[in-house]
């Protein structure tokens, strides 16, 4: 089935959010379907994180609404969050616990019922080195922490995965490994929203790209158009155009 024919998992409709006089997000709309990877591009302050916080239910939209697998986070935030997994730029885990213990704790809190071996298999599935499984997270690299984050998403069978700057600070090899993991997740039907500055990863991995600047969605690309476009030029064109306004 083509992505176009699949159902929307994340729907953002006419979303606006102000902080006092500052318009952080200004009437943006987009959807992320099952198995789709949407790269949300934009400079710092473009409104990407505010949009993510609205999707996660940490912020309530002033105008418009968000829908996660049929649930409005502003109405039932806990139920909406159960449908998704969130991996921030710095995956926040308990430093004194091992990767396995973190996975078990986070997953069980989310209501996942699996055996220790099944959790171990999930860590193997995200290519976390076996020797690291029982080491404290404090000794993990950023890439390893992200793998644990993805394992949590896998464990709870999240319908949507929200990534905030996932590849910043990763070396090319880790970035490549991470790309493979999220593509595998997308193939399993997970809708992925990835806020990033990494134009290369966006061009390589995303099925659709949305460029945000000054709270607005200024350009969208879908399918082959992404590969065929000089993304960097397009991005800079929009960002510069906005800054000269």
């Amino acid at each position: 089935m083509k992505i176009d024919e699949k159902t929307n998992v994340i729907s953002v409709t006419h979303l606006s959010k102000n902080f006092a006089e500052y318009q952080a997000v200004d009437d943006i709309s987009f959807t992320v379907k099952q198995g789709e990877i949407l790269a949300l591009l934009g400079p710092n302050g473009a409104g990407k994180t505010t949009t993510i916080n609205c999707i996660l239910g940490f912020l309530k939209p002033d105008i418009g609404h968000v829908n996660i697998a049929g649930i409005d986070p502003s109405k039932d935030v806990v139920k909406a969050r159960k449908q998704l997994a969130y991996i921030p730029e710095q995956v926040a885990l308990y430093a004194k616990l091992s990767g396995l213990e973190n996975l078990i704790y986070m997953s069980k809190l989310a209501g996942v019922d699996k055996t220790k071996d099944e959790f171990r298999q999930l860590l193997a599935q995200v290519n976390l080195p076996t020797h690291a499984t029982n080491k404290p997270i404090g000794s993990y690299s950023k890439g390893m922490r992200q793998k644990v984050g993805i394992a949590i998403a896998l464990a709870k069978s999240a319908k949507a995965l929200i990534l905030d700057e996932p590849t910043s600070g990763l070396d090319p090899s880790s970035s490549h490994e991470f790309s493979q993991l999220i593509q595998a997740l997308a193939q399993e039907g997970v809708a992925i929203l990835m806020a990033t500055h990494d134009l290369y990863r966006a061009q390589e991995d995303a099925h659709s790209v949305a460029i945000m600047n000054q709270g607005q969605l200024v350009h969208s690309l879908v399918g082959n158009a992404i590969k065929e476009t000089k993304l960097e030029s397009l991005y800079l064109e929009h960002v510069r155009a906005a800054s000269t306004c």
């Binding site: 902080f19 916080n53 996660l56 940490f58 912020l59 935030v77 806990v78 139920k79 969050r81 159960k82 449908q83 998704l84 997994a85 969130y86 921030p88 710095q90 995956v91 926040a92 885990l93 308990y94 430093a95 004194k96 616990l97 213990e101 704790y105 986070m106 069980k108 809190l109 989310a110 209501g111 404290p136 949590i152 709870k156 929200i162």
Partner: protein, 469 residues
């Protein structure tokens, strides 16, 4: 979820090492305090039983003598202790445990442990109540101040919430984990009480239930307070500082301030001043006038002109009249002092609205019968017994002394008379009957619980709003 959170907190704490060290220190202190209090209690109980027995024998075997001489010879009665006084000695050290009952005088209790205490002991006595009331909240603060704030700082709070965890469940699990930890330290005390209830004596189920319930609520209040502050604090450092300030105010400064305020508001005289006031108010010209009037009335009643013509020994009647006259003075002056002391106690209790420590301390001492109210009850029972002794001895002299006096011989009572005076036994009333003395503290403790539970709602909302600017 609770077990999951407990397990996770336990693993983290174990690896951090801090919990283990702090817990070990408090447990060691608690064990030392419990053992030392229990040992001292056992020793004192044995001594008290021996003294009570020998005192009765001394009274019965005092030999033949005038009843009034026996009244001055006096008896010593021993204040009983409840088993809970091992856990909370309360004011015992300041109140004394032996009361001398004699003619014409109402004495204060003797043998106050504090008089024998070295200076360092006066600074602070290590007993289980002190550890549970003062040090346990501090331990709970040190173990729980970062429960939510550290999650906020490290970003795990946002991660947990984004993972679909309800803020309410998270807060409750953390509170239960900290409460569980607090109760873990209280567990040895509960075991001791249950064991003593089953196999020991001097333990009342009602008092034990009140004791356990009030400490349970107190621990829960501190767990809620710690988590509330941790939920609101931006950093763990500010959470710790805020909680330490609250602890110092609630457990150290406010109680001191409340005591000072109670003394200022309801002042009492020094013991010496009170004793000299007693002397001066009993032996007054009015007393002589009252005795003269009683004599005239009695002579008139029997239609005689001289006390030697009365059909009973006048000295016995006169002594009893003198006792009754003095009793009225005692009732008035001791009553005034008791009222002042009770007012001080209630004033202090009122400060429990600002400190759960004061509420618990009051309830705990009441349950252990080591507070002022119980001491006054014992004092009243002792005074009733003193009056019974005086009435019996004076009555015997009045009824049976005439023949000896007419033979110009002094009347002497014998063992039969001494045996007619029952041995003093006293048991404290059921704790429910003393509700008026500690009810205010119970209400304050429950108000604290309700206030903390209400604030918990806002703390959960604060967690829910995580991520908002």
């Amino acid at each position: 979820m609770l077990i999951l959170t407990l397990k996770k907190e336990w693993i983290e704490s174990k690896r951090e090492g801090r919990t283990l060290w702090l817990s070990s220190i408090i447990l060691l202190l608690l064990a030392c305090a419990l053992l030392s209090s229990w040992h001292s209690y056992e020793q004192v109980q044995t001594q008290k039983q021996q003294v009570a027995k020998s005192e009765r024998e001394r009274w019965l075997n005092q030999g033949d003598k005038g009843p009034h001489s026996a009244a001055h010879y006096g008896v010593y009665i021993i204040k009983p202790d409840t088993g809970l006084s091992v856990l909370d000695p309360g004011l015992s050290d300041y109140q004394g445990s032996v009361l001398r009952l004699e003619a014409h005088k109402k004495n204060d209790t003797l043998f106050r442990s504090i008089q024998d205490a070295i200076q360092m002991q006066r600074f602070g006595d290590l007993n289980p109540a002190f550890i549970l009331q003062t040090l346990l909240p501090l331990l709970m603060i040190l173990l729980g101040f970062h429960s939510i704030s550290a999650e906020r700082e490290s970003g795990t709070l946002k991660q947990l919430l984004a993972n679909g965890l309800s803020p309410k469940k998270l807060f409750i699990a953390k509170v239960m984990a900290l409460t569980g930890l607090g109760l873990l330290f209280f567990a040895p005390i509960i075991l001791y009480i249950v064991y003593s209830l089953l196999f020991g004596d001097n333990f009342s189920a009602g008092r034990s239930a009140l004791f356990i319930a009030s400490y349970g609520i107190y621990i829960f209040i501190w767990a809620l307070l710690t988590l509330i502050v941790s939920s609101y604090a931006h950093t763990s450092r500010s959470a710790l500082i805020s909680l330490l300030v609250i602890w110092a105010l609630a457990c150290l400064l406010l109680p001191k301030f409340a005591i000072e305020s109670a003394i200022q508001q309801y002042p009492t005289e020094s013991s010496q001043a009170f004793q000299s006031k007693l002397e001066s108010e009993v032996y007054t010209p009015e007393r002589q006038q009252a005795i003269s009037k009683f004599k005239q009335d009695t002579l008139a009643e029997y239609g005689v002109e001289n006390v030697d013509e009365l059909p009973f020994a006048w000295s016995g009647a006169q002594l009893q009249f003198g006792e009754q006259f003095a009793n009225k003075v005692f009732d008035r002056l001791f009553g005034q002092r008791q009222m002042q002391l009770q007012a001080q106690s209630l004033h202090y209790q009122s400060a429990a609205i600002f400190s759960p420590f004061i509420a618990l301390q009051t309830i705990s001492m009441s349950a252990a019968a080591t507070d002022l109210a119980h001491h006054q009850l014992f004092d009243d029972a002792g005074e009733s017994h003193r009056r019974l002794i005086q009435a019996t001895l004076n009555g015997d002299l009045k009824d049976n002394g005439l023949a000896s006096i007419k033979r110009n011989k002094s009347y002497r009572g014998d063992q039969h008379l001494w045996e007619s005076i029952p041995d003093f036994t006293y048991q404290y009333p059921a704790i429910a009957q003393l509700m008026s003395h500690y009810g205010r503290a119970v209400i304050c403790l429950l108000l604290w619980l309700m206030a903390m539970m209400s604030l918990s709602y806002f703390a959960m909302r604060r967690i829910e709003n995580e991520g908002q600017p």
